[in-house]
């Protein structure tokens, strides 16, 4: 089997990869070309599956021997049986889904744990951009103009924690990252992480 092209994993993917137990069943939603699945398969003996929207991503993934289907988080999660996976991963994709709440519910239905990473719209640069320029924020990590962005459901860390509360979801782990990939403290109330974190990463479970 070929291996995916070289280079280290993206910083949030690396953090996610280290959270997954060896031999686990993993579904990576929005898996791109499958870099995370490939890493997990080779280093953790994980039974991995992927969902990806783009034909290029899917055929690259399948072409590398990964099990990837063409589909998206909004339409293709409902078919999976409950408890089919140990981890369902959604990295940097939540903000691009039509119904983030339903997506999160489905992830926690079909997986024991959900791992979610997303860009924090509460970052001070984002806030400052809107406050001082009066235009929709375009930053290093959020590079799209408002009219061509796939990101239709931005949220802040505090927003996301609110949704977790509303869904009665248990937060097992919460990590905030700054622009340089350094880990910031992320208390239950979000605190200054909501102002300084570029992105956040959560491990969630169904409250039992």
């Amino acid at each position: 089997m070929m291996t995916l092209a070289n280079g280290p994993l993206r910083v949030d993917l690396k953090l996610i990869a280290e959270m997954v137990e060896p031999g686990a069943r993993v579904l990576d939603v929005g898996c791109g070309e499958g870099a995370l699945l490939d890493w997990l398969g080779r280093n953790r003996g994980v039974d991995g599956r992927g969902i990806e929207l783009s034909m290029e991503g899917v055929s690259a993934g399948v072409g590398h021997g990964l099990s990837v289907i063409q589909g998206d988080a909004d339409t293709d999660l409902k078919d999976y049986p409950s408890g089919a996976f140990d981890y369902v991963i959604l990295s940097q994709t939540l903000q691009a889904t039509h119904e983030p709440r339903k997506v999160l519910e489905n992830m926690l239905r079909i997986g024991r744990h959900a791992i979610v990473s997303f860009p924090n719209f509460g970052h001070w640069r984002v806030r400052a951009h809107l406050l001082f320029r009066g235009t929709m924020p375009v930053t290093d990590t959020l590079t799209y103009q408002w009219y061509d962005t796939p990101n239709i459901h931005f949220c802040t860390i505090r927003d996301f924690l609110g949704l977790c509360d509303a869904l009665n979801v248990r937060v097992d782990k919460a990590i905030a990252l700054d622009r340089d990939g350094r880990v910031l403290p992320l208390p239950r109330a979000a605190g200054i992480a909501n102002l300084f974190a570029d992105q956040a990463l959560f491990v969630l479970s169904r409250e039992t």
């Binding site: 599956r49 899917v58 399948v62 072409g63 590398h64 990964l66 063409q70 999976y80």
Partner: protein
Amino acid sequence: MPCSLPASARKMISNLMSAADTPPSADPALSPDHRVELGLDRPIRLDCGVELGPVTVAYRTYGHLNADRSNAILICHALTGDHHVADPHPITGKPGWWVDLVGPGRLLDTDRYFLICSNVLGGCMGTTGPAEIDPATGRPWGLSFPVITIGDMVEVQARLIDHLGIDQLFCVIGGSMGGMQVLEWAHSHPERVFAAIPIASAARHSAQNIAFNEVGRQAIMADPDWCDGDYQSHGLRPKRGLAVARMAAHITYLSEPALHQKFGRNLQNREHITYGFDADFQVESYLRHQGSTFVDRFDANSYLFITRAMDYFDLAAENGGVLANAFRGTRTRFCVVSFSSDWLFPTPESRAVVHALNAVAANVSFVEILSDKGHDAFLLDEPEFHATLAGFLDGAAAHRGLPPPTGQRRYGR
């Protein structure tokens, strides 16, 4: 022997035919056209209730079976295909229908895999079908041939695999009706299929596809030379009807953009329209050619029986109306492929299969290949399609403990 074929064709087949059963040849280039009689001691129980046997099966193999008997790939052909996957057709002399995919270093690598393809039950290239002699009467079966199903075709293939001494196939692969057989294999013999690749296919024939098949059948039956299916006794062949059936079907294998690119409104060998019903347009001339060459190599009654088998195929209906039930507990690795411009087996049909497989948490890959070539894309040089298949096969081979590819990959023509 298909009595309805021209004498020259029969002679050619006869020349290629080997003894009742010869072992697979070592050299793919010299691989003979095998014949084997199956069901001698245990007839094959068809879905319609008839017990059929013995059944002659015509098949070809390419490459070598390894010591573990774990590297066999069954290739399932489409409606008008046959087992001449990678060698010249005995009647037309044209290259095999997947010649680009088969060979050393190719996608279906004959250095690594043992490839098997058999003519389907009901076919007209050597396997028992309506043009063959019914041993009970000594006359061609014709319409007295039992109505067969995709399940029956697979049952006969399973008997062939038994005969070859193979417990589990590494992979079953096929496009269109071949894809239906792949899904049927995965459903009815899950433990015998390590990997399954249904391409441009569906788990049921749609109303539109049944409608197209019915047009073809009615064209055949409307030909006076069809003689209520008994044309062989009259020394006739319903060529015109079969040609029209092929013409109508051929349109469904292409796409509007493909037809437009290939022909547009171009005229055939003339400057102006003729105000008549000659083939003024190139597309007419092309279709007439497709129709007239098809009748040289295909039997009209076979066309009726095989299209009927496709119409009857509905895996969900056979499983309590829930397609997922057909695959419950499966451990097979699936790779489902569709083509964006295929309107005969459009992507939603493949997606329905994928959703059913997801519902049982099966190991499945699925990709819709962007192509403007319509349904026929699975037979053509589509690099993205071939790269995806190669990756899936390599991945599956690694999981099956088969060796990785060696040397340079060869794709395309």
